[in-house]
Symmetry: C2
Subunit: 429 residues, 2 copies
Amino acid sequence: MTLTAATLIETAQSTRQAAQTLASWPGEARNQALVTVAEALKDSAAEILAANQADCRQAEATGLATALLARLKLDASKLEAAIAGVLSVAELPDPLGRLHINRELDAGLILKRVTCPLGVLGVIFEARPDAVMQISALGIKSGNGVILKGGQEAIHSCRAIVHAIHQGLEAAGLPPETIALLTNREETLALLELDRLVDLIIPRGSNSFVRFVQDNTRIPVLGHAEGICHLYVDQAADLAQAVAIAVDAKTEYPAACNAIETLLVHQAIAAQFLPLVAAAMPQVELRGDAQTRQILSITAACEADWATEYSDLILAIRVVDSIEAAISHINAYGSGHTEAIVTSNSQTAATFLAEVDAAGVFHNCSTRFADGFRYGFGAEVGISTQKMPPRGPVGLEGLVTYKYQLTGQGQIVADYSGTNAKPFTHKNL
Amino acid sequence: MTLTAATLIETAQSTRQAAQTLASWPGEARNQALVTVAEALKDSAAEILAANQADCRQAEATGLATALLARLKLDASKLEAAIAGVLSVAELPDPLGRLHINRELDAGLILKRVTCPLGVLGVIFEARPDAVMQISALGIKSGNGVILKGGQEAIHSCRAIVHAIHQGLEAAGLPPETIALLTNREETLALLELDRLVDLIIPRGSNSFVRFVQDNTRIPVLGHAEGICHLYVDQAADLAQAVAIAVDAKTEYPAACNAIETLLVHQAIAAQFLPLVAAAMPQVELRGDAQTRQILSITAACEADWATEYSDLILAIRVVDSIEAAISHINAYGSGHTEAIVTSNSQTAATFLAEVDAAGVFHNCSTRFADGFRYGFGAEVGISTQKMPPRGPVGLEGLVTYKYQLTGQGQIVADYSGTNAKPFTHKNL
């Protein structure tokens, strides 16, 4: 074992132990801790902003990409918003101690299924120092310890923020080890190997980064590598509505994972619709299949286009001859994120919502609504494109699990087995 | 790609497509299919029993282990019970189409979260041909296709059963490809690689087999490799009750995953309790730590004993000086399956239930109650010791996922962003 791995195991054990204290606190006390953390962050604003300026200067000097630099930069208003975010997490309903099942198995033998924390979250992110505040707040709220690993480019900012968070935790009477910060590059891989000490990995960064994390750990990963979303415009669509939705879904924020990459158009309305949509998004590079190119003079889309997340002002277009063809294209090339149909035919819409295999299936609205805040979850931990729950935008629900508590008065299974077996009552309370 | 892999991909694609038909059927029609499958099994009873006799003869000739032979053997009454099991699955509540969330995001923009099938289940099992009937029934009920891979020793039985199931599916108007049977040994590994076509793997067999499956696939695995369960007898325990629970949890069915492997005893009552428990289970080999051996003259337990699932009439015993020591032993050596405490002190019990990290935490009752049927789930798909849900005994709930359906009237995100952003109503309906 390397020195890094050994030190990391100690850190993770401390965080795990601290999290057990946190988990035993009632919801009100965890909310109060969020208040003291927010106050400590406010009190340390000057230090945090100065640390961030140091990071930004260094990033500029080393020529960090503009997009990353924008995410790295923390000014007074961005910091204020992040601190307000910490306080708003305190306002959310408590995700712990929720009773899913409360059932009498027999007289005096009571089964409860209650939500409880996962334990320790491992969060690996690039650039964005505000993520430290957000994820720490969600961890405290949900009774989980958090091990954070930020990018080297944000190291001073992260240290200053975590220092303030530790002061806030101590003011609340919580061990500072609840939130740990890793600052050493080798620690990322070592963290991914701690499947006995870390319960969930949340990677925040590029698609390739998320895929790397997924491929290098046995720990469950919350997130998604790709967002290849489609809009299918049916023959029975209101074309003006379809144009507005296509423009919103492609151009409102093209780098978002819920933006569309491919537009599927029913052949019956293609000749009428395609010129309208092309005119409505002149800034977008369109790539089409053969049928599309008989209507629009644009570049040809090749096989790779159907499987690409452009994250940019590029849109692939394909003409299909039926709803079935649209569904089978989507189920073949989609990433299971969010898929939408525009149609006035409710039967066609029902088929689409039932048969498309994705976390989000939308009818007559933009794919861009796929988001935890827009869904009303209050906080978003990530968006999962996996088949098993939690799926789609995940709020605090994704940071908790449950356990079965069975309380008896000395009951043994032998009495409920064999020829004179006592029956179970299985009565929900 | 090998020929096996290529053929398997075709099989899996057919099953996936057949499952989509099944998934679109209402609950009543799926139940009716269970009835026709049960009838077809009944009609084929003679063929199935003859096929099983051929398997058993061959297994005896090749010297199959007695335990496996017992699981392989299917007589008329076992077959009848399995067919009754298929019909009882029809009686369970429909796991599909359940509404978790029904929320207005804004006027005319309605979000629903509804349960839907996973898609295709891959089930790999040893010996037991009755598993084919049970898991096929659960697949039909939950709208999932099933790819079955049984052991070579049960090949004739499995073929005869699946042949009958196909007849039952056809009588119901369903494609027979809904349930596929693999009969070729190389197909197991190839199946584990189909993460684009198979959504969940359910392994049924020995611990080492389950661990092999977990280590060789990216597909989620439902099941558990180990069941290392503990019983902690507190200083405030009713000793007669503790003896009865210990005997039940160890001896009622020692090969069960919810049987205990280690008994933890508070030192304050050890001298009084240990002789009672030893006298109550004379057939059990006891192994103790140093303190236990000052009271009982038994073999010494070594470090490996704390981490071993005996699945046999052997019990490790350790004396601890506090509830904290008991919890920390359990959290270090337990497999997260089921852990129990015997105590009359409700405060101590509450600490145990809160701080022990396991799918099941029990107070004053036997660990052997950890079971889907005893919990009242009607059917048990498996028991999961993973931290993320589904955790513990899993019923039909574990064979479904959910999707978010958003239905609008042309809404776009641009109207809900920026300075004049429309607010969301987030009103639960």
